[in-house]
């Protein structure tokens, strides 16, 4: 991979730094602190910048890591190398406990929750007898390999930076994988990701644990660097500072966390030594400047320093086109005669007093294109949401190939081979078209997060990307494959959604206004594609307002008005149906 070389270069530079003659020891101390902060910030990048979960409580996880090793190695004399896994496990277990409670919280409740338990845990650290209360624990043994004891900041330097580089590598690997795409889709809301089988609460919990384990690692190193711990560095202030680091560096970028840590730690050092001279005051003067800078940064450069820096470098590498000869196993389909694929039976959805869908029944056969039409507010999109499990029906039933699927969640529906597009495009704008489309193939890959981190997922990953590339070519967007989805026109984004839905290898494709925003030629191409899909054995159910498009394409048309089915039949019969004409044009046109 082309992003390996800079990492190797970076690792070599960091390894060489202590050997520069005349290097002030104090700089090494600073670099140690940068490394420790970078570990926590990296986790926050994944959590906040990528996953969209803001946490003010990371300092508490650093505390779990530090106190675990402090208690075990100082009080019970356990070897520090044995306490490393234990520190990580304790952080991880608390992340699971706190995560189960907090990650389901929507929006602003989550950061507030983290702030509250962050404070609570800080007070707990400072009150518990076996953690040494406010005085903490001292005389923690140093790390040692063989007879080499890492007693001073210069000797533990390598341990810290090996941890940073390895963690960065694992995190970057994780993001560039099947699981990573699911995580990156979290920030844009969960409906689209769930429609392709992503368990969003599980994905959120995963990043939460990942961030906590990195924080725990930082805490473990911190304890053996200082060889003493007390509650102060694990309080709310520190939690806020870690978030500040991530925002400064660029919350969306793993290396932004490292850069942010460098900027903030150095800045803090400079401010602490020079501010008192300027302002003749004492105490936390640097926090004033920090606070003001944080606000200024959010107003002027909310994306952070890293993206700005990388845009200056001519490092833009074009993605490699995946090898499309690799194949994923196809879905087993019942061959032969037509049968009922989807049966909607007296489906009903009420929102309070409003009946959005009123006892609607229709079916979709195999190899058939059915159009669902009706004026605005007729209940078409609600019907889609009932079929795909986004909404649960108030009454009635929905069956796929004769099996009832009432109230199954979206993740289960997509497993049955029903995939969809959205009326309001739901792509991740800062992911490439290829990555967006590959989310569609989520369920057809097997690799988990650990495999992804260790790059054991490459064969699996190549097949997923090959499938995505094939579907992109199929819908005619091969030239845009490596562009960011957000840079495409709205019409093209709709086509990307179709490619994503095709990656499921669906039996039934649900398209919500696919032709909106397309030009005439593009519509014709879309119609040709849909016919080709039908002839290849797929069924299509589409909602569309463009009557010319629908009447040309559909085998059958179902008409809804005010939530009720008013007509069903071939396009020719629908066109002359008086009820339909009345619904669209008013009385007695």
């Amino acid at each position: 991979m082309n992003d390996r070389l800079p990492i190797l270069f970076f690792a070599l530079v960091m390894a060489a730094i202590p050997f520069i003659p005349g290097m002030p020891p104090f700089w090494i101390v600073l670099l140690d602190n940068i490394g420790l902060a970078a570990l926590v910030a990296m986790g926050l990048v994944l959590l906040t910048g990528v996953g969209g979960l803001t946490s003010f409580g990371q300092a508490a996880f650093v505390g779990f890591g530090a106190y675990t090793t402090a208690v075990l190695s100082a009080t019970y004399g356990v070897s520090p190398w044995l306490t490393l896994p234990l520190s990580l496990i304790v952080s991880g277990v608390f992340a699971v406990l706190l995560g189960l409670i907090t990650v389901r919280l929507s929006g602003h409740y989550l950061p507030l929750g983290t702030l509250a338990w962050g404070l609570g845990l800080f007070y707990l650290f400072s009150k518990l007898e076996f953690l040494g209360r406010n005085d903490g624990i001292s005389a923690i043994p140093p790390l040692s390999i063989g007879g080499y004891r890492m007693l001073d900041p210069a000797s533990i330097y390598f341990a810290i930076w090996v941890a940073v580089v390895l963690s960065a590598l694992l995190t970057v690997n994780l993001l560039d994988s099947r699981t990573g795409r699911a995580i990156r889709a979290l920030r844009r809301g969960h409906i689209a990701a769930e429609a392709f089988g992503v368990h969003t609460p599980r994905a959120k919990l995963l990043v939460f644990i990942h961030a906590a384990v990195l924080a725990g690692l930082s805490g473990w190193l911190y304890a053996h660097l200082q060889r003493a711990v007390n509650p102060t560095p694990f309080g709310a202030q520190a939690g806020i500072e870690y978030l500040f680091i991530a925002v400064v560096g660029g919350a969306g970028y793993v290396w932004g966390g490292v850069l942010g840590a460098a900027i903030v730690v150095i800045l803090k050092e400079v401010l602490q030594s020079y501010l008192p001279l300027i302002l003749h005051g004492s105490g936390q003067l640097e926090t004033i400047v920090f606070g003001i800078m944080l606000v200024a940064l959010l107003q002027l450069a909310p994306a952070g320093v890293w993206p700005w820096l990388t845009s200056l470098l001519p490092l833009r590498t074009n993605g490699k086109a995946p090898d499309t000869s690799l194949l994923l196993p196809a879905r087993i389909r019942a061959a032969g005669a037509s049968e009922v694929l989807l049966q909607v039976d007296k489906a009903r959805k009420q929102f309070g007093g409003v009946i959005a869908v009123n006892n609607v029944s229709f079916d979709v056969q195999t190899r058939e294109i059915v159009a669902l039409i009706g004026p605005n507010g007729a209940g078409k999109s609600t019907t889609f949401n009932l079929i795909t499990g986004v909404l649960t029906a108030t009454a009635g039933s929905i069956s796929v190939l004769g099996r009832k699927v009432d109230n199954a969640p979206p993740q289960e529906i997509v497993k049955l081979g029903i995939s969809r597009t959205f009326q309001h495009v739901k792509l991740v704008p800062d992911m490439t078209v290829l990555e967006n489309v590959a989310i569609g193939a989520h369920l057809r890959g097997q690799s988990g997060p650990i495999a992804s981190m260790l790059r054991l997922d490459r064969a699996d990953e190549a097949r997923l990307l090959a499938e995505a590339a094939r579907q992109i070519e199929r819908v005619g967007l091969a030239d845009q494959m490596h562009q960011l989805a957000g840079s495409l026109s709205l019409g093209q984004q709709r086509i990307v959604e179709i490619a994503r839905a095709l990656c499921v290898d669906p039996m039934l494709l649900l398209l919500d206004e696919p032709a909106a925003g397309l030009r005439h030629m593009e519509k014709q191409r879309l119609a040709a594609l849909l016919r080709q899909l039908r002839d290849g054995g797929m069924s299509v159910l589409l909602v569309e307002h463009d009557m010319g498009f629908v009447m040309d394409l559909a085998d059958r048309v179902v008409v809804l008005d005010f939530g009720t089915k008013i007509a069903e039949g071939t396009p020719a019969t629908i066109k002359s149906n008086p009820e339909v004409i009345k619904a669209y044009l008013g009385v007695a046109a």
């Binding site: 409740y109 509250a116 005051g281 936390q284 926090t287 004033i288």
Partner: protein
């Protein structure tokens, strides 16, 4: 358990709870109008309390200068924002509000501080100073960010908290202060002694709860403020001045914060960083109220105050732990009860 102790703890809890309720209300108010989760609410408390205590003891509070300094920045931003179409009237208005007014207040503060002002004057000056800081804070920090997500606003809010708390240390030093009682009368009922101070706390809290509830629930202007929070663009199209709404919210919040501070500083010693913890307890109440309900917030605040009073008696070491961990079951309930709402974030 001794009834007297219990009554005493309850009374203590309710007095603290009333303060938390005031702060919780202010937080709900600001969130409902601007979507800002106002972490610096705690600094409004400290600033109000310590400005009042400083004035009463004849010391010059640095907050008066801060108000002027922030006013200058706000004025500069106004001029910069309106540079394409500068009107004399707009500039003059901004100059009056942002520079002349804090200037006059600073002059008054300097004048009064030399001669140990009466309690009423100290209260008035503290309230005006903190109110001006609150208004400028909105102008400088949150108005330029008004279109961004709740999370960006929250992070900015934390930044303000850091800066203001640091300034608080600079202005008031690390030592705690106490202020003179607002009302020094007292009477006893049974074994309980009610001070004029605590009665004032109850009265003001109840007045604000009823007032805010009436304002937001029943007046057109209150509804306009709420509309701003739900949909800024829509509110603007309907003719609501969203910036003014934000200013009103911050004005009210800073006044409520300062007032709470002035009310408690005669009862307990306040340090430059006490406000944050008090504010967070207000938050817990506000979150229990779902950040929308005023009555529920007030009730929750009383519960928080009482739990705190009891835990400080029975497990004083774990007082803060218990209070903050109180939030976890609440969040758990909220997350189970709240349906998963699709939120488009950026």
């Amino acid at each position: 358990m001794n009834t007297t102790i219990m009554l005493f703890l309850i009374q203590d809890g309710i007095t603290n709870g009333a303060i938390y309720a005031l702060l919780g209300l202010a937080l709900v108010l600001v969130f409902a109008v601007t979507r800002v989760i106002l972490i610096p609410q705690g600094e409004f408390v400290t600033y109000g309390a310590l400005t009042y205590a400083s004035l009463a003891s004849g010391q010059m509070p640095g907050t008066a200068k801060l108000a002027l300094a922030m006013g200058v920045v706000a004025f500069a931003l106004d001029v910069f924002a309106g540079r394409k179409s500068l009107h004399v009237r707009l500039i003059a208005r901004s100059f009056l509000a942002n520079i002349v007014l804090p200037g006059i207040v600073l002059a008054l503060t300097l004048y009064f501080v030399a001669q140990k002002p009466p309690v009423a004057v100290s209260i008035a000056l503290s309230l005006v100073i903190v109110a001006m800081i609150g208004l400028s804070l909105y102008r400088i920090v949150f108005q330029p960010l008004a279109h961004t997500s709740v999370l960006v606003l929250l992070i900015a809010s934390v930044g303000c908290h850091l800066a203001l708390q640091g300034l608080g240390l600079l202005f008031f030093g690390a030592e705690g202060q106490r202020g003179p009682a607002v009302l020094s009368t007292a009477f006893t009922a049974g074994s309980l002694r009610f001070t004029g101070q605590s009665i004032t706390v109850y009265g003001i809290t109840i007045a604000f709860i009823v007032g805010l509830w009436l304002f937001f629930g029943w007046t057109l202007y209150g509804k306009a403020l709420r509309a701003t929070a739900v949909n800024r663009l829509g509110a603007r199209l309907a003719g609501i001045r969203t910036t003014l709404s934000g200013q009103i919210a911050f004005l009210l919040a800073s006044v409520i914060g300062a007032l709470s501070g002035i009310l408690i500083v005669p009862i307990t010693t306040l340090y430059y960083d006490t406000g944050f913890l008090i504010g967070i307890k207000g938050f817990i109440a506000a979150i229990i109220g779902g950040l929308v309900s005023y009555p529920l917030t007030a009730i929750a605040a009383l519960v928080v105050g009482t739990v705190e009073a009891f835990s400080s008696f029975y497990a004083s070491n774990y007082k803060e732990v218990i209070v903050f961990m109180l939030l976890i079951p609440v969040l758990l309930l909220r997350s189970l009860a709240a349906p998963a709402v699709e939120e488009e974030k950026d």
